[in-house]
Each structure stands twice: as C-alpha cells, then as structure tokens.
Subunit: 322 residues, 2 copies
C-alpha cells in the first residue's frame, strides 16, 4: 500500500461535501489541532462540515469550534492523525470505520484503512502534513487555522524539542507565526501551566519512579486508581511520559499506564544509542527512535517485567550493561 | 547611542587579530554558545583567538573548546551576549572593561560600553545575531558552529517556547539543523536531564513556593543556604525560574534568589496582560514582556515584599484584583 500525493489529496477534498472529521481517541494537540484546522479550511472552501470528538483535554479546548457540532447526514468521512483504525474511539470505529474516504496522517506505521491515505512519515505531526496540503492548495492561512496547526506541530514535537523536529517543521512554524499565531501565550497555556491536580499527580508519580538496570533504566507504573486519587483524567497527564528519562544516566525511561479497559500501555522514551521503536516493536507497538509506545497486558507487574527485560536486552546489545 | 550594521561588524572582525572573547558572568547557553561559535568562526578566518570564561554549567561543557584557552598578548577584545558592563565577572571587568572593541548582543537595554556595538533587540539570542552576521559574511556553517548557535538560540527561547521566538528565529534554527545539528540529542541533554541534586533542589524550591494576591502571584525565595543544602551551584538551577508561573491562575511568577554577594535578585515571569519588564523597571531592571529581571537588596524578606507590592499594583491596574 502507498499513499496519495498532495495534489490528489487536495483534489479529493475539493470533490467532497457534507464531511465528517474524526481524530484518534484520547486526543492530543495534534489530533485536536488537525481536526479544527481541517474544519476551518473546508469551511473556507464553502463545504458543509462537522466534527465528532470526545475527551478533549482542558488545555486544548480553546481550539474547539462550538459551531462544528451541527447535525446533518454525512457523505464523506475524513480522519486526521489516525495511524490505525483501532486508535479511533470504539463507538466511532463501529459506526464509521468502514466508510472512511480519506486519512491524513504522519505515522510511518500507518494502517491504510481508508479509501485513500495521505501520509508523510517525515512530518513531525499531522498538522505539518496539513500545512503542506494547505500551502499546496493555496488556502488563505487565517490566524485561527494557523493557531490550530501551530498547536499540533508544537505539541507533537514537545515544542520543537524532540528529534522529530526537522528544518521543514521549523519553517512551517515560522509561516504560522507570520500568520499571526500568539506563540508565547499559547505555549504558556499548553506547556507551562499545571493545575493543582496535576502537581499532586506528578508528585505521586515521582514517588512511584524507580531506577533499575544499574541506573540506566527508570520505570514508573501508573494505575487507574492513581488518576482517581489525584482527581485527574489520563488525557490531562500526557506530559508525564518524559519524566523517567530526565534523570541523568538513564537511557530508557518507561511509563507503564493502566488504561480504562484494564490493559497496560507503555510509553518508552530513550536516549542514543537505545532505540525505543525497536523495543516497542517486540510487543507489536511502534513509534520513533527516541519515543515509542506499545500495549502490554492486564497484569501490571508482569507487563513491567517483560518491558524491562526487553530494555535489558537492548542495553546489553549496546554494551551499556553486562 | 546606536549600534553598527552587520556590514560594519563583519569588517571590524575581519580587521582584528589576537582576539579575546568574553561573555557575561553566570554564563547560560547563549553566553557559552555565542562565545564558542564566534571562537570557531574567527579560527575559520585564520585569526589567533582565545576565550576566558568561568562557571560553565555542566550541561553546556560539551560546547567548550579546550584549545581556546591558549595564552598570548591580546590586541582586541570582543564580548558576546553582554547587555551591560556590570554583567561581566568582576575580575574580567576590572582587567578588560575599558578596552572592549566590539560587543555583539541582543538586549534592548544594551549599555553601549564597547567601542562598537552590534545589537539587535528583535533577536531572541546573541546567537541569532551571530547567525545573521555569519550568513552576511558568507562563513561556512560547520556542524560545530551550528551546534553552538543552536544551543544559544534554543536556551534563550526555552527551546522555542517563549514569546521572543520569531519567524526569523525558527528559520535560523532550520538552517542550523540543515548544517547537521543533532537537535534531538542536544535537547535531551540540555532540557530533559536533571541530576539527582537538581531533583532535590527542585523539591525544596517547590516546598518554598507560596501563592499570594488571591492566587494570582506565586513567589519562591531561594537562599545561598538552599544551594549548599542540595549540593548544587546557582548556575545549574537556571531552569527553575519558570516554576512559579506554571500554576494555573498565576499571572506573575517570582523567583527571588540570593546571589553569592548577598544581594537578592528577582526573576519575574508573567502572563498577558501583566508586563514583567515594566515591573522590573521599577527596580532598575529590565527584560522582556513576559520575562524580566532586577536586583533588589540584601534583605530577602523586604526584597520579596517590595516586589510583591509592585506586582499587586500591576494586577490592580489590570483589574485582576481589587
């Protein structure tokens, strides 16, 4: 399977009308940003468009367009930032999964579940792909569209900090600032604001943090009970996965999180020369060199043990432990 | 007083030889980055160059060129990222303060203490000014020079997070990535690595954090004893000033730090509509709209009280408290 070109994607969108836009479950900045950037773009083209989305984190609600939830019969469905059909909310997948016309994505592991797929694995975010598409189509980059795209690009790159940030990413962001994005204020709200609940959760997570494998691996296990105790939803704790790797000397930082359905999911962050995607691939997951994820199982302790064993193997292969 | 053009600055550097480079005391990423970027650039031009610098933080030592500390009689002195003569180390100022040929800087409050000054207050970092200068001069942007410039630009912008990040900043960074900078690895080392000492210091600082003015101001006072207790130097705790503003609802986050000489210094971070530079100007300090600094006095409690009073005035003027 291979994807379509910007030219074909733009033509496909131009031919559509009465469009529904969906993004992945537990939406992050790139999911919400690409959804509403595409919504505004299609409105600019005179289309009838609506969105369906659940569990938008508090910090991203300023991007949500209240007028985007009108009800009308849908002719075409477009998904954004969805690497695999199973990443849609269950109810959306059951209702719409077989009828997706176009998927716009940036994951190298894309499942090609839609009739047509525009995917650029070199892009840091789905919003970077949309930026290229809108530029190709000659769309007017309003301040509102630019803000959506900026949030997607900045959140998926840790505000341009992660290795997925390329020269192209930075040049796209430069154009978005020129379109009027108030980057300073947006970044304070998204990257530098913690609720008292988050601070409490972070403190608990820090206490759960343990070092292993000669201090070269740090692991933090989080249960549904931890979210309940702090009075916070998982969607509002996404920044936390970066913590374990932050400790000096750590090559692999693991966050093992219990999902609502009782299945443990791992977020793996590594440092050169340890490859996070290779570790996660052993569990059927994937991602990038320094940041990847996978599903483990229903037994938290066993899940953690198997993941740490995979890290041990990688550290040994790299000669970092014996 | 006004500054010189890129053309004049390039000509001035080209005419010099036997050059000493200095940066400000308590050097940050922009000071260290601009020092060694300029060192490597002048070496590329065939000049004899050396550097003098003290207290380089551990995380920035990878930029330091061991060959840059040769001893030879100096004919010209160039300073980088020095907004005012008093920001030089005392010993450097006494020895060299009256003989500085050229200062390359980005502070709007520049004191024009050198024979000639290249200053661009719209630049996010001295390294952004150097990037423009090197581009003007047609210098070959080696990977090593690009890494120095990248560190300066990224640290002064909180990795492109702060309001001082412009489209020009991002385009400069794009060129630096194209020159071969390993941004992912550098950013992990600089922005995502905490020593156990830092973690201990951070925990103590968090405990010292207090909210006032109806939760709209957060203040954290740090003494020399706190540094001693955690076994850490002030230079290694510069990231901490962002903490107080991070709490949801806070418009002004204040860090009041005792310097080695016993004088308290404030770092003020604000959110729209509160202007940090205006608050600091009342104490003879300055900076940017959302991030500024000033010197207070030798009495920590009184220093904090006066600064909070200035914040109270600003919050009242903005109608945020009554």
């Amino acid at each position: 399977m291979s994807g379509i070109t910007l030219e074909r994607a733009w033509a496909a969108l131009s031919e559509m009308d009465d469009i529904l836009i969906l993004a992945h479950a537990n939406p992050d900045g790139d999911a919400v940003g690409s959804m509403f950037a595409l919504y505004l773009a299609l409105r600019q083209l005179g289309k009838r468009v609506r969105c369906e989305i659940k569990d938008v984190p508090e910090s991203l609600r300023f991007l949500v367009r209240s007028e985007a939830f009108a009800d009308f019969p849908v002719k075409h469905i477009v998904t954004v930032d969805v690497g695999d059909l199973k990443l849609l909310n269950d109810s959306f997948r059951e209702k719409y999964g077989d009828h997706i016309s176009l998927n716009i994505d940036h994951h190298g592991t894309n499942g090609f579940f839609a009739d047509e797929t525009l995917v650029d694995p070199s892009a840091a975010a789905a919003c970077e792909v949309l930026f290229s598409l809108f530029t190709y189509g000659g769309l007017t980059l309003t301040k509102e569209i630019a803000a959506c795209l900026y949030v997607g690009v900045s959140t998926d790159t840790g505000c341009f900090r992660y290795a997925n940030t390329t020269a192209k990413t930075l040049r796209a962001a430069a154009c978005l600032l020129e379109a009027g994005v108030d980057n300073g204020a947006i970044n304070i709200d998204i990257f530098e604001t913690k609720t008292p609940q988050y601070v409490a959760f972070e403190r608990a997570a820090m206490n759960a943090l343990r070092l292993c494998l000669d201090g070269k691996c740090a692991v933090m296990r989080i249960t549904q009970q931890d979210y309940k105790d702090a009075g916070i939803s998982e969607a509002d704790t996404q920044g936390l996965s970066g913590l374990p790797r932050m400790i000096a000397g750590v090559y692999a930082g693991l966050t093992v999180k219990e999902r609502e359905n009782g299945v443990y999911h791992a977020s793996v962050r590594t440092k050169e020369p340890i490859n996070a995607a290779e570790i996660c691939a052993k569990f059927g997951g994937g991602g990038h060199k320094y940041a990847a994820g996978c599903e483990l199982g229903r037994d938290g302790e066993d899940s953690e043990r198997r993941l740490v064993a995979a890290v041990e193997e990688a550290l040994k292969a790299a000669g970092l432990i014996h």
